[in-house]
């Protein structure tokens, strides 16, 4: 027994590769960027002049405070994803920020300074309509929440409910807005569409209904969209059908007064729906009597309501955006107007008079690779001389936040599009100029054209250039060595990008759901280029492919992004250079037909671009690039090009073969009845994967050969019957060329969500076991057996024997978000499985623990083979977390890429945050350690060298002496 324990310990010591980082290595190879998502609400913290906080609530259900000087996060709270954590409203008063979350489910108050939760109350169920702060006698102490059938008022200090009242006739009246002018009354405005407005006035003290009025308004259906409250409680509505403004005094009148826009001397765009914008600086006071009227996409008017008369203070034409801001007693209006194609100017105007304030022009440069400005957030402050200064945060269509100070200095930008990365690729950086020079010298074309003499000259000149570069490099090293370390900056810019010795630094090309593409340096995380694609459909699916790598100098690298509308199937191609982000010269083909499938072939055209095949809904194939050379190659190899299509709605998997005329023919078909199960995943292997060893050496020195079918597809199905006794998960391994079902298994009493990794000769999947109520891992491995059928080449058409299938399952103590396998250059390094956990950790689980050959009873042979004895539970060891305390929120995907070092795999985890690091699944066997003792080894070498010299000399002398004797 003791032996057994010792053996176990021994095994643990042998296998448990420690992956922890040392303290001084933190941030050396890894970086993390945190994002908040597309901003929905924002408030500047104005309680103190020196406050630097911008509060933002976003569509990704994040509530955060940004540092307005640097753009960094002070604190961030990530709520549940989906509608449950949706932020409905953000109200800000002094130190408190009030959030209504999850369609009025929860009311929360946060302390703005430290980001701590003050209180949280659960609200009664009912769909949320509106929320407002309620002031009384100059102070704000309550918050009113309007739901479909009732209104409740809570204390700001502790969240306790002051009173709750049912709304009268809530079945017929759609209550939409709550308003308080700070005089002890709460107005609730509801509408019966195309009939009348209902106004219910509650007393702030006890919730008693003071008054209930209904006013004719047959044209009105949505109050928040067309009405605002201005001045002394006057409801102002814009009616787009009659092109008029309608006013109603909430305190006295029972009839709306119509003021046609023409009577004000205004002409409106007939197609445009005019909208209004008012401003209430403080909930305890009345709103301003000035308001904005937007009359067209580029036209704003500053109007004033004066004793029932509307006065035009100023006409802004053209103006893109307008916004109010208050500091102290002063309220200003900021208006952004286009200046020229690349810049906009922002000016401040006095809200009372409409006069332009002097020296308040601010220039906003519109990024040509960005989107149009969408929202303007203004922070106004009083300068020492009592004039108003301001800063603005501009939100653009591409979800970028730009914070600008006068006169146009960009203090920071945040690319919030990166909070929703859809797909990514890592591309090798190009060679340096000198390396490229050498490459060019030996280029094929050059050699043919030039004679001998010019070749010699070329060689000499390139050698000179290399020498020059080397000297410059030495000089830089010497120069930098004298400066203190903190001052040495390695500014990465697009001009000095070059591949490092071990190809550890790469360009990360990230595609976000908003349609903005980014090029990010993998070493530092700096954004090197960005490109916004407008007119991306909202439900687009993206597929990013590298058509030409950087290895083919002087041809530039080329990436192709396939953008497909999920509903119509219509697709477009965006071809670009992944290093510089520029659109390529190559014009992509127009795709008139919906696209079903795209596939990259290993074939290359004469410019070394891989051929992309696109299959349309007529099963016709088009190639890109489609030069003569490509078409000829396609004709020659057509009979060996197979592809498959999956129609999960009909459960149909079908295989096609290419014909020489680029039409296709169906060759196999597998139909999985949708009444029983539906296809959720079809996963092939990664094309750039290398497997180093064809087999595994067994304990008796024989070899068990792996079944390495590159065309194998893992198809995962889930049962339609969700009853916990009858639900199951199906795993089918299908050959993508012949349609042969290699293996078919069902995991009974199991349910999704399923996560699958398919690589080499194994498939790992994770599911929820409904019987035991836990997450379980299962691994399938395929082996050919003790003999290889055809060791030189693999052909799906010629593998008559079915492989041996081994399977084992394990209990996993956590649910997971995503899963991926590590990938290295030559596939010698052992594999790990990277698991993104919902807690934000990224776990690196050695594949060795997921091995169906783990024996239940230890034998001499299994010990020889270094197999770990079977244990049903996989234990999460803390040292397996590769991101120590750098949690990655809502991790959605993990991307792995090989580096130039066999031991090293580059990892990018993306979700709300982006985290980049390196992993060494078999430790750094090909790299000397950081603390390697060069002195010792060189001194030993030198000592040995001299010892040899001396002893040689001595031996010679001795020989000579002996000869003389």
């Amino acid at each position: 027994m003791a032996k057994l324990i010792l053996l176990l310990l021994e095994l643990c010591i042998i296998f448990c590769v420690v992956h922890a980082v040392f303290e001084d290595q933190v941030g050396k190879f890894d970086w993390r960027q945190q994002y908040v998502g597309k901003v929905r609400f924002s408030h500047f913290d104005t309680q103190m002049q020196s406050s630097k906080k911008v509060l933002v609530a976003t569509e990704s259900n994040v509530f955060a405070a940004l540092n307005s000087r640097t753009g960094e996060l002070f604190w961030r709270h990530v709520d549940k994803a989906g509608p449950e954590g949706n932020i409905d409203a953000l109200l800000h008063h002094a130190q408190d920020a009030i959030l209504v979350v999850g369609n009025g489910r929860v009311l929360r108050s946060w302390d703005v300074n430290i980001g701590g939760l003050n209180w949280e109350v659960l609200l009664d169920s009912g769909s949320f309509r509106s929320a407002s702060l309620v002031g009384q006698q100059g102070t704000v102490k309550h918050v009113a929440v309007l739901k479909k059938a009732f209104i409740s008022v809570h204390y700001l200090s502790n969240g306790h409910q002051k009173w709750v009242e049912n709304l009268p006739d809530s079945e017929t009246v759609d209550y939409q807005t709550v308003y308080s002018g700070g005089n002890g009354q709460v107005f609730v405005l509801g509408v019966v569409p195309h009939s009348h407005i209902t106004i219910v006035v509650y007393s702030m003290e006890d919730g008693e209904i003071i008054k209930q009025v209904s006013v004719e308004a047959p044209w009105l259906s949505n109050i928040p969209a067309s009405c605002v409250v201005v001045g002394q409680g006057i409801l102002m509505c814009a009616d787009s059908t009659t092109m008029s403004l309608n006013t109603l005094d909430l305190h006295q009148q029972t009839q709306m007064t119509q003021i046609p826009l023409q009577s004000l001397g205004l002409e409106a765009d007939p197609d445009f729906h005019p909208s209004l914008m008012s401003h209430q600086p403080n909930a305890a006071q009345k709103p301003l009597s000035e308001f904005f009227l937007q009359l067209g996409p580029e036209r704003y008017l500053l109007l004033q309501l004066n004793n029932g008369q509307i006065v035009t203070l100023r006409d802004f034409n053209p103006a893109l955006l307008a916004s109010f801001a208050t500091t102290g007693e002063k309220t200003v209006a900021a208006v952004m107007s286009p200046k020229n194609k690349t810049a906009c100017s922002i000016n401040l105007f006095s809200a009372d008079t409409g006069r332009r304030l002097l020296d308040t022009t601010l220039i906003f440069t519109v990024d040509p690779n960005g989107g149009k400005p969408e929202k303007l957030h203004v922070q106004a402050f009083l300068k020492k001389d009592d004039s108003v200064g301001y800063r603005v945060m501009v939100q653009t269509e591409d979800q970028t936040l730009t914070f600008i100070q006068q006169p146009g200095r960009v203090m920071w930008t945040r690319e919030e599009a990166l909070s929703d990365v859809v797909t990514m690729e890592m591309v090798d950086l190009p060679l340096t100029g000198t390396q490229a020079e050498l490459e060019g010298e030996f280029g094929k074309k050059a050699a043919i054209q030039d004679g001998l003499f010019s070749m010699v000259l070329k060689r000499l000149s390139s050698q000179l250039i290399m020498l020059q570069a080397w000297i410059a490099h030495l000089w830089k090293l010497f120069y930098d060595a004298r400066k203190p370390r903190s001052q040495v900056k390695n500014d990465i810019s697009i001009d000095n990008l070059s591949r490092d010795e071990f190809n550890l630094q790469k360009m990360m090309v990230m595609v976000t759901s908003s349609g903005k593409l980014f090029g990010i340096d993998s070493k530092t995380g700096a954004i090197l280029w960005k490109h916004y694609l407008d007119n991306i459909p909202s439900n687009a699916a993206f597929k990013l492919m590298v058509q030409r790598t950087t290895a083919h100098f002087p041809h530039p690298p080329q990436c192709t992004l396939l953008i497909k509308d999920k509903d119509t199937g219509r697709a477009t191609l965006h071809v670009f250079n992944p290093i510089f982000g520029r659109r390529s010269q190559v014009t992509p083909p127009a795709l008139p037909q919906p696209i079903l499938q795209s596939l990259m072939l290993p074939l290359m055209d004469q410019d070394y671009a891989k051929v992309l095949l696109l299959v349309d809904d007529q099963y016709k194939v088009s190639a890109f690039p489609s030069t003569k050379n490509v078409l000829q190659q396609l004709q020659e190899t057509a009979s060996s090009i197979f592809f498959f299509l999956v129609d999960s709605s009909q459960g149909r998997l079908s295989g096609y073969r290419l014909r020489t005329d680029l039409s296709t023919e169906q060759v196999w078909e597998v139909v999985i009845p949708t009444e029983v199960q539906k296809i959720v995943f079809v996963k092939g292997k990664r094309p750039n994967e290398h497997v180093h060893s064809q087999g595994r050496v067994m304990g008796d020195r024989s070899v068990l050969y792996k079944y390495l079918n590159p065309n194998l597809l893992a198809v995962v199905t889930e049962s339609t019957d969700m009853h916990q006794e009858r639900s199951f998960i199906g795993i089918l391994l299908i050959d993508g060329v012949t349609g042969r079902i290699i293996h078919e298994a069902v995991q009974r009493k199991a349910r999704g969500p399923v996560h699958v990794v398919h690589s080499e000769n194994w498939v790992v999947y994770e599911y929820w076991s409904t019987k035991s109520r836990r997450k379980e891992f299962s691994v399938i491995e395929l082996y050919e057996g003790m003999e290889l059928y055809n060791s030189t080449v693999f052909s799906s058409l010629d593998r008559p024997h079915a492989p041996q299938v081994l399977q084992q399952s394990y209990i996993f103590p956590s649910s997971i978000s995503t899963m991926e396998a590590t990938l290295t250059e030559k596939g010698i390094t052992s594999r790990h499985i990277l698991i993104g956990l919902p807690s934000g950790g990224i776990l690196s689980l050695p594949k060795m623990f997921l091995d169906p050959r783990r024996p239940e009873i230890i034998t001499e042979q299994s010990r020889e083979e270094n197999l770990i004895p079977y244990a049903p539970e996989l234990i999460i060891r803390t040292e397996w977390f590769i991101n120590y305390n750098q949690s990655v929120s809502r991790v959605r995907g993990i991307y792995t890429a090989p580096s130039g070092l066999e031991s090293t795999c580059l990892v990018v985890a993306y979700g709300l945050d982006i985290y980049q690091t390196r992993v060494y699944p078999s430790k750094q066997f090909d790299v000397l350690k950081d603390d390697y003792d060069y002195m010792l080894i060189s001194s030993v070498l030198f000592a040995l060298f001299f010892a040899t010299m001396i002893s040689k000399r001595l031996a010679e002398v001795k020989l000579l002496n002996r000869a003389w004797r």
Partner: protein, 250 residues
């Protein structure tokens, strides 16, 4: 130990049992054309094949599959001979590296009534025609069903599978199909083996209990080492302070 072995045997038996593969070796092509009697618990569906020079599928009958429905479905096959014309065509197709395709209709094997088993559409598979020729028509056809008994796929391979370009001289070799037919249901994937593991752990602890040497507590076993260590520590502690003090004084 015996109990353990028995347990294992049961498991193996279970596994074998659940892999319900019924093999039916059929070489009764000579009787082709005989009408098949459909039994109460079975029905027959056509097995069709197609091999054309222009690769446009034209399916013709190759034989018929007799499927037995029920809990453990089984299958047998009756097939026709290849005609003279077909043999020539197959060789021609093989020469231009065409495909030999087969198809079976989609059926539901658990159906009680005859009207229920038939479903729309076919399942198809293919093999290179040259492989068919060079293997002298010896092929392995597998029908795959899903959990509830729907036929979801068919696969065909030839033995040997390769096309080496060897000429088949004898026409007789291409007359009769030598087919190995099987029907496969999905395998039950194993769950985590907790029971066996727990049993093993129990056995280990039992073993531990039997061995009196193991039962001794940690202190009882190693008291002399601990005592020795403690004495050593005390000695070194008592020796150090004077040395340190001496240095301070100097």
């Amino acid at each position: 130990m015996a109990r353990l072995l028995a347990f294992k045997a049961v498991i193996i038996f279970n596994v074998l049992f659940s892999v319900c593969t019924d093999l039916a070796y059929c070489n009764n092509g000579r009787r082709g054309g005989d009408p098949l009697e459909t039994e109460v618990s079975g029905f027959s569906v056509p097995l069709e094949h197609s091999f054309e020079l222009d690769d446009v599928a034209k399916f013709q009958s190759r034989g018929s599959l007799l499927l037995k429905t029920g809990r453990e479905p089984s299958v047998s096959l009756a097939q026709n001979q290849l005609s003279e014309e077909d043999r020539a065509k197959l060789k021609e197709v093989a020469a231009v590296d065409g495909l030999y395709r087969i198809r079976v209709p989609r059926v539901f094997l658990q159906a009680d009534r005859q009207t229920e088993w038939q479903m729309e559409g076919y399942l198809t598979a293919f093999v290179r025609a040259c492989a068919m020729v060079e293997s002298h028509l010896s092929d392995v056809i597998t029908l795959h069903t899903d959990v509830s008994g729907y036929l979801i796929g068919v696969s065909i391979v030839t033995l040997p599978g390769a096309c080496r370009g060897t000429e088949v001289e004898d026409e007789v070799d291409l007359e009769v199909f030598n087919t190995t037919l099987s029907i496969m249901a999905p395998v039950n994937a194993p769950g985590p083996e907790t029971a066996l593991f727990l049993e093993r752990m129990e056995q280990e602890s039992e073993k531990k209990g039997k061995n009196p040497q193991e039962q001794k507590s940690f202190f009882a076993k190693y008291w002399y080492l601990i005592l020795g260590g403690a004495i050593f520590l005390m000695l070194t502690n008592s020796a150090q302070p004077p040395a340190g003090g001496g240095r301070e004084q100097s």
